[in-house]
């Protein structure tokens, strides 16, 4: 009965106006139908907004607003002891950042740790995914085992690795001692500490990236390998000329995600030593750690906000670089017709 009206207003037909009821019954019946269809149309029109409203409410209040307000707070003097009172400071916080050697040190550390944690991590993941893509027994065991570090928190993982890297009684120095290498003060050195922190990141995230690559590899059409094999391409050539090009978008995606993660590195350097300074010489203090120290140990929330916005700017620059690179990469592929 009412189905006719409902169909007329269904989203499939773009919510067109209801047609008059079939047959022309009495007036009251028609009015009821019209009211019903009005309510129906309101329901279809308004309900999508109702469904997305909770997300955008929480996202606006706890995601977008704090991010933008950080920029505003960065233009003020804000002290941790009295976060309610803000005193206008113009660009003072930013200009001080420019001449702040600790800031540049943290930026450089973030960059080097990011580089030596991201590149090996993604290369290993690519190789492991390739191996897991073979037909084999126990593939589920390997997948779950390699993902287990992902379930380990930053805190737990870092505490364990800090012990393994211990100078006097750590297992790693003990093992190196077996082959005649003297004890290394991992935490004290600049390169050694950054290397050690990178291994924690690599340990936690390699399995996750492996699975992402594996999923992409399984979606590569089998015919491509078959025709490559017919052309006499070796396994290595197939990997180079079939697997890698097909994975290009996925690889770019994982690079973006791990780079963003690398700019935010915080828990590992905080717990690898014993405080926010990132070592006695700040040798492994990252930007995230410096922001934390500035805000919650130097009580200067205004300058902490300026650091946060510098990090945000860094992300935008990285984003633009990747955008340009991906444009350039896809232009290369369209010519080949895949």
């Amino acid at each position: 009965m009412t189905s006719h009206d409902l169909n007329a207003a269904s989203p499939a037909e773009g919510g067109a106006a209801p047609r008059p009821a079939k047959g022309g019954d009495d007036e009251r019946e028609r009015r009821r139908q019209r009211r019903r269809s009005w309510r129906y149309r309101m329901d279809t029109k308004a309900s999508p907004y109702g469904f997305i409203l909770p997300f955008f409410l929480f996202f606006g209040a706890f995601g977008l607003f704090p991010l933008l307000f950080t920029g505003w707070a960065a233009l003020h003097r804000v002290r941790l002891q009295d976060p309610g009172s803000m005193e206008w400071a113009g660009f003072h916080n930013f200009t001080r950042l420019m001449s702040d050697e600790f800031f540049w040190n943290a930026l450089a550390n973030t960059f080097t740790i990011g580089l030596i944690s991201t590149v090996p991590q993604l290369c290993i993941a690519l190789g492991l995914a390739h191996l897991l893509n073979y037909k084999m027994r126990g593939s589920n065991f390997f997948r779950v085992a390699m993902l287990t570090p992902y379930a380990t928190s930053v805190a737990a993982a870092t505490l364990v690795f800090a012990m393994l890297y211990g100078r006097d009684y750590g297992m790693i120095n003990w093992a190196l001692g077996l082959v005649g290498i003297d004890n290394i003060d991992w935490e004290g050195g600049s390169w050694t500490s950054q290397f050690a922190i990178s291994t924690i990141v690599i340990w936690r995230w390699t399995g996750y990236n492996t699975l992402i690559y594996l999923a992409a590899m399984q979606a590569v059409p089998k015919d491509l390998y078959e025709s490559a094999a017919l052309d006499g391409a070796s396994a290595w050539k197939q990997f180079l000329h079939v697997t890698l090009p097909s994975l290009r978008p996925t690889i770019l995606f994982t690079i973006v995600v791990s780079t963003i993660g690398a700019t935010q590195l915080f828990g590992e350097p905080l717990l690898f030593g014993s405080g926010p300074s990132g070592g006695s010489q700040n040798q492994y203090q990252t930007l995230g750690l410096y922001m934390y120290e500035m805000g919650w140990f130097n009580f200067n929330l205004g300058r902490a906000s300026a650091i946060a916005w510098a990090m945000f700017l860094l992300l935008i620059i990285i984003g633009l670089i990747y955008w340009a690179v991906s444009k350039w990469v896809t232009r290369g592929t369209t010519g080949k017709g895949d």
Partner: protein, 310 residues
């Protein structure tokens, strides 16, 4: 961020299970016809050897956590380090639980992570359904906003968040770490990508024809179809919420900690005993490890499925 197209020729909703949605389980299905993807070569002994080495590397630090947790501080300050279990496990666990506040931390984290998971999954499903199947104005623009914000780390907004909870007097209260985490842009995108494929338009229209209003459609049509993806999103969100680090250590103190906050306290010498620290790390990780042992296949499948869509 579209990476890879789903396997061609499959009209059924993509499966979310250990096979990563592509239905690719070599060896189990010898006969396969066109359109499927993936390589078919058998693994050699070298492949097994390399994978075994990496599997051991992945698991060893966790096993050693348990070993170290069973030794006294004096034993751990000797070389060579222990490789077998000692007899101090219960003592160390007891100290971590009581003195190190891990007991309270575990209950707090269980509560916080559950609340975050329930709300994230619920709101992500609703919004994901709207973005996947409904028409409304500014839809594409709003979806672009969701995708764009997936990439912005929440860490950058902690100063205003801290100012807000300080004003509200919420420092050291659990709502301070729950409320900011109640929705996730990734979740919305994840559910949308699933529902675009898995939910046939005819199903919604049929329910509409029967006179169901939009909430009834969600309850009787959308939720049953979305359930597998909701389960995966729930597991991923729970792991993430359990391990959330930066914001909790700012918003909470050792008087009312989550697991990560309590572990930070242990690491900073709250209880200067390496065995106890490892016992705390073990306690804080064990619940997720048990979940991995039980749901490992599903979590693996969920990540691989999300990768195909993401």
């Amino acid at each position: 961020m579209t990476t890879t197209a789903p396997p061609t020729g499959s009209t059924s909703p993509v499966r979310v299970d250990g096979d990563g949605g592509s239905g690719d389980q070599p060896g189990r299905r010898p006969r396969r016809t066109g359109g499927k993807a993936g390589r078919q070569m058998h693994a050699g002994w070298l492949t097994y050897a390399i994978l075994t080495v990496f599997a051991i590397g992945s698991l060893f630090p966790l096993v050693w956590t348990a070993i170290a947790a069973s030794h006294s501080n004096t034993r751990l300050a000797q070389t060579p380090p222990p490789f077998t279990f000692g007899d101090r496990l219960w003592e160390n666990l007891d100290t971590a639980w009581n003195t190190g506040n891990m007991g309270m931390a575990l209950f707090n984290t269980l509560f916080v992570a559950s609340a975050i998971t329930i709300s994230t999954v619920l709101f992500a499903t609703l919004a994901g359904y709207a973005f996947a199947k409904l028409r409304f104005r500014a839809k594409n623009l709003l979806l672009l906003l969701v995708i764009g914000t997936m990439m912005v780390p929440p860490q950058l907004g902690v100063v205003p968040l801290y100012m807000a909870i300080a004003e509200l007097g919420w420092t050291n209260r659990l709502q301070a770490v729950i409320l900011p985490m109640m929705v996730s842009a990734f979740g919305v995108f994840f559910m949308r990508q699933y529902l675009v494929q898995a939910l046939p338009k005819e199903l919604i229209e049929a329910a509409r024809v029967d006179g169901a209003h939009s909430l009834r459609v969600v309850w009787h049509v959308v939720l049953p179809v979305a359930r597998p993806a909701m389960a995966v999103l729930g597991m991923l969100t729970f792991v993430m919420a359990w391990n959330e680090f930066f914001w909790p250590i700012i918003a909470l103190t050792q008087q009312n900690p989550t697991v990560q906050v309590a572990l930070t306290g242990l690491g900073r010498g709250y209880v200067p005993d390496q065995g106890v620290i490892m016992a705390g790390a073990l306690l804080g990780t064990l619940p997720l490890l048990i979940a991995f042992a039980v749901f490992g296949r599903q979590i693996v499948g969920g990540i691989m499925h999300g990768a195909l869509k993401g």
